[in-house]
Symmetry: C2
């Protein structure tokens, strides 16, 4: 009985969340902002990848003498500000989103974070990223109003995660394999099997093989984001 | 309003769960079984550590010519049986607990799993392990009726997780640092800071530094489990 009530309430919470998400997505498209939700396990390298990606995108703009893109990062954490401080140190506008123990990010939190950016006179952005809570399970269920959702899987976690965490692999637009500089230490990591399993579960999924440490794959990833943004603003 | 209702129902679900957990804990103590809940992020090495630990405990029993301990493993997974198959391949009695997408394990699931062991004539065990869902957030909230709760943190995840996932670090009896053979690749991994932060948050926490690949720390860990069981059965 209680379980049924819980499920009913959860469904109505999710429905209200989805409605807000659609509105937010449209708002950011209008502002010319490509908004990406980044999800992964704890320690998969979300903050490190984000720093490397933004650095790569800034350099690519320099090379073609384009204006530097404007970035904003929402840093979600259960309790602390560890990641937000790293982002700030790289001179990237960021908002600390403290969920106070909640295992995922919901639309109300996103809206409050964006409002903080607006009040600080920092919007509109060309690219906004949400670094979600480190959790490969719950965030998959909650639409955060993003235009695209990506997940990271780090090489040391192992390649056999598609069947174990299918909801996450099913909802994302891209799988970014991180820490590929660890591959020599992981002879059992079967990249082809991972790619095949992910593509069977989610036929449209894009897969990037990267290492923030060596720079591997960062240009391809940056080019993909540039292309996605071009589709948003056209 | 809906959020309030959700919180109320969650609290009453948690209270019912805790009551069942106390009864189950007493039942297993009476049976002479030390029951441990193992929690960690996806890919921290739960299954691999468990296989190495059981192997070490079997060998330690042989050395002192004691009877081989009886082990049972509940393998929780969102959807698949990947881990349960690895446990079976090592001739360890196991039950596959499929949570169908639920992000943590609750008492009803534990009771049904134990009943399956009983009906298979496999109980009582000397040691029963629950490999919880790979999630460093939600399982911390749910008492699974275990006598002790441990968490794994793998070296590639990074040492800065105490402030980011405090509920998990706060509830466990032991922190098992895994994949220490990766330390040479992670010069920034500050083991002393990790130990200090974990001990400040949770003063009673035991910390083990291990590698299932090299065997580092496995004897100390096995000895700790033997000591805990001696306290249960005395």
């Amino acid at each position: 009985m209680e379980e049924t009530r819980m499920v009913e309430i959860k469904q109505s919470v999710l429905a209200a969340n989805d409605e807000k998400a659609d509105g937010f997505r449209a708002l950011l498209k209008q502002a010319g902002t490509l908004y990406t939700d980044i999800m992964a396990s704890p320690g998969a390298g979300k903050t490190t990848l984000l720093l490397a990606l933004i650095d790569t995108m800034r350099k690519r703009a320099q090379v073609v003498q384009a204006p530097e893109p404007k970035f904003g990062v929402i840093e979600a954490d259960l309790e602390s500000m560890v990641d937000a401080e790293k982002i700030k140190a790289a001179s990237i506008p960021s908002v600390e989103l403290n969920t106070h123990g909640v295992c995922h990010v919901e639309m109300g939190m996103v809206e409050r974070s964006y409002e903080a950016f607006k009040q600080g006179g920092l919007t509109p952005f060309d690219y906004m990223f949400l670094e979600n809570i480190g959790n490969l399970v719950c965030p998959a269920e909650f639409d955060t109003g993003a235009h695209n959702r990506v997940m990271l899987l780090s090489v040391p976690e192992g390649y056999d995660k598609v069947y174990k965490y299918p909801p996450m692999f099913a909802v994302v637009d891209a799988l970014i394999v991180t820490k590929c500089d660890y591959l020599p230490l992981n002879p059992d990591f079967d990249m082809e099997a991972l790619k095949k399993q992910a593509s069977v579960l989610n036929p449209g999924i894009r897969i990037f093989v990267t290492s923030a440490r060596t720079g591997e794959g960062m240009d391809e990833l940056a080019a993909w984001f540039e292309e996605l943004r071009a589709n948003i603003v056209k």
